[in-house]
């Protein structure tokens, strides 16, 4: 037990979590980093979703010379095929996000299930599942993705599956830890003592408590999935028929955009990927922080406590 546990003001009261949307919305409203992350993320998602309607030019439409410089008509210039970069980025973000979300969904389903089952049942089941997770955790994911993608051949579906089945380990561990702690809470013990079934306890008590953490983890996983897709595409293992942000960077690199001095073909897609990952990290991290009771108040920091001068009060009064 901590010294400060009983003193008000020394620790933040754990924020009551009531509705699933509640914690997400609450965090976005209260934490500036989460606000920024959520804003950027929703802007990118909006552009990507609306690409077919708001993109200024066609995706395969040659509107100028290869590596045409930025101009008023084409603020980010043209790529090696003379396609408008803004258009390319919108469509690219679309594919990157699809891969990111789909792969995350796969990994959440696997990781969430394994985490809940291992954490809830504990004992032997937990031992076996966590051993499996440990092995998956140790296998280096990028090389395995490369090997699998190389063998199966490049396609969007393969990429989603490959990323998805390699990313679930951290989710499984985080969720398991949380489920284990929820399982030991008195109200769950009491429900068990009452004779409630496993399904009921999991659905009614465990899952709602774990859901916010699962959301935070999902957001962080999206960032990793987007990164992995970019890396795979860069290594020439992306789906050749789809243009993702990774593919845009790879194209520029392969077609020697750098030696051609066409920075606009390579800087913006990277910035966009970085923004995408940054916004997910900011949002996910803020959510995790909000849910983490272990981030207590530091006992020592650069700034000490403040003194308020004795004004108007009789300092000699005892």
């Amino acid at each position: 037990m901590s010294i400060v546990i009983n003193e008000p003001g020394l620790i933040a009261e754990p924020e009551p979590i009531r509705s699933r949307g509640g914690i997400l919305w609450d965090t976005i409203r209260r934490r500036p980093s989460a606000t920024i992350g959520a804003t950027i993320l929703s802007l990118i998602i909006a552009c990507a979703v609306l690409a077919p309607w708001i993109a200024p030019y066609g995706l395969h439409e040659q509107v100028g010379p290869p590596f045409g410089a930025p101009s008023w008509q084409h603020p980010l210039g043209l790529d090696d095929g003379g396609v408008d970069m803004v258009t390319l980025l919108m469509w690219g973000a679309r594919i990157s996000l699809v891969v990111g979300f789909a792969a995350t969904l796969v990994s959440m389903l696997i990781g969430g299930t394994i985490g809940v089952v291992a954490g809830y049942f504990g004992g032997k089941v937990d031992g076996i599942l966590m051993r499996i997770t440990d092995y998956f955790l140790v296998i280096p994911d990028v090389p395995l993705m490369i090997v699998v993608a190389a063998i199966w051949g490049p396609s969007l579906f393969h990429i989603v599956i490959v990323i998805g089945i390699l990313l679930w380990t951290s989710t499984a561990r985080v969720i398991r830890a949380q489920v284990k702690s929820v399982r030991e809470r008195v109200y769950v013990k009491r429900a068990r003592a009452l004779g409630a079934g496993h399904v009921r306890i999991v659905m009614r008590h465990v899952l709602p408590q774990v859901a916010p953490l699962l959301i935070a983890n999902t957001v962080l996983t999206i960032a990793v999935a987007v990164f992995d897709e970019t890396a795979l595409a860069f290594l020439g293992l992306g789906d050749p028929s789809r243009i993702s942000l990774g593919k845009v960077i790879e194209n520029a690199f392969q077609r020697a955009a750098i030696s051609a001095g066409a920075w606009w073909a390579i800087v913006p897609p990277g910035v966009l990927v970085a923004l995408l990952i940054l916004s997910c990290s900011l949002l996910g991290q803020a959510l995790e922080d909000a849910l983490n009771p272990r981030l207590r108040v530091a006992h020592v920091s650069a700034r000490g406590f403040r003194l308020r001068p004795l004004v108007g009060r009789n300092a000699d009064a005892v």
Binding site: P16, R18, R185, V186, Y187, R190, A191, L194, A196, R204
Partner: protein, 347 residues
């Protein structure tokens, strides 16, 4: 009103010849100790800790029995074994005359509504996402009781009123974080009462509450006892046991070393451990300062149980015979009450 004078219902029932509500007979509970991979490879024998080693007692309707002891003495394990939340290695637990040690989980389920438990930590006793109403209603839903939604609401209101949260309808839609520790513990009790149990196991029900509200929760339990509920209270606090229990059983290293009517245990203890335990309880009145009889040595360790009387290494009056002879629970020579038992050859 002393506990003895308060005594009602319970004794009478059992003297009528009926079975006690809860009878525990020679209960033994063991936990395995992990021997580790190295141990498994070297084929070391699997070891077990005897957390509870031959415990017998009973609880009647309308009776509050307190199991008292230091941490690690096996009192909480005993409570869990009574409710079959941990499995006993041997011994019998009978509920209302029926042996429940061998019942399957399925057969046990309808019985579970008759025996309820409340835990120590009021801050974790309620699901933070459920209102008081949901929390009190849940046991009925689990057991498929209470009839219609409206009927259930009535029962919830009744239970909330019974734990003295007034006015009850004001509390129904509140969330746990809007309640104080004492109120949460009352809601937990209400959630147990709604099933109309016969037995309530209370595991350190007030040790995490503030002093000013403890008495409120305990007095509530006392009134429920008067209404005929059998209560088994686990506590480390002898003062609380002395005030509220009809009978006290003192545990040491997995055994009951002394048991009897509360007033007799407090005023006329016969086992040296009970005497020591009573002497270290700080008194409220500053004028009442006595030198406590502090036992030396660390708290006992269930992995290393001494031979003979298991209390002898710390016993201030141990004689040579105590090393070899494991005493039984017998009526002490100086006992006043016929129900007083102590496990000491000198008593």
């Amino acid at each position: 009103m002393s506990p003895e004078r308060r005594g009602c219902g319970g004794r009478a029932l059992s003297s009528n010849g009926a079975d006690p509500l809860l009878a525990v007979d020679d209960l033994v509970v063991a936990y395995p100790i992990a021997r580790g991979l190295a141990g498994a490879v070297l084929r070391r024998p699997e070891q077990r800790v005897l957390a509870v080693d031959g415990v017998s007692f009973s609880v009647d309707r309308g009776e509050l029995v307190a199991l008292v002891g230091e941490s690690g003495c096996g009192k909480t394990t005993t409570a869990q074994a009574v409710l079959r939340l941990v499995e006993a290695m041997s011994g019998r637990v009978s509920f209302d005359g029926r042996d429940i040690t061998e019942l399957s989980n399925r057969a046990l389920r309808p019985l579970r509504r008759n025996m309820q438990i409340i835990y120590q930590d009021p801050y974790e006793s309620l699901d933070p996402r459920m209102t008081v109403r949901d929390a009190v209603e849940e046991p009925m839903l689990i057991h498929g009781l209470g009839g219609s939604r409206e009927a259930r609401r009535e029962l919830v209101l009744e239970a909330v009123a019974r734990v003295e949260l007034t006015p009850p309808d004001l509390f129904l839609e509140r969330y746990p974080h809007e309640l104080s520790g004492g109120q949460r513990q009352r809601v937990a009790i209400a959630a147990s009462l709604v099933l109309e149990p016969d037995l309530l196991v209370a595991d350190e029900p007030v040790s995490m509450l503030d002093v000013s509200v403890r008495a409120g929760v305990l007095n509530l339990l006392d009134r429920l006892r008067q209404d005929g509920l059998g209560i088994l209270m686990i506590t480390h606090d002898l003062s609380t046991a002395a005030r509220y229990a009809d009978r006290i059983a003192v545990m040491y290293l997995g055994r009951i070393v002394e048991v009897g009517p509360a007033s007799e245990i407090v005023e006329n203890p016969q086992h040296p451990y009970t005497k020591a335990l009573l002497s270290v309880v700080p008194r409220r009145d500053p004028r009442d300062r006595k030198r406590p009889q502090v036992l030396t040595g660390e708290a006992p360790d269930a992995t290393r149980i001494p031979s003979g009387c298991r209390f002898h290494p710390r016993c201030p009056v141990a004689i040579e015979e105590c090393r070899a002879h494991d005493p039984e629970l017998l009526r002490p020579r100086n006992a006043v009450s016929p129900d007083h038992r102590a496990a000491c050859i000198l008593a």
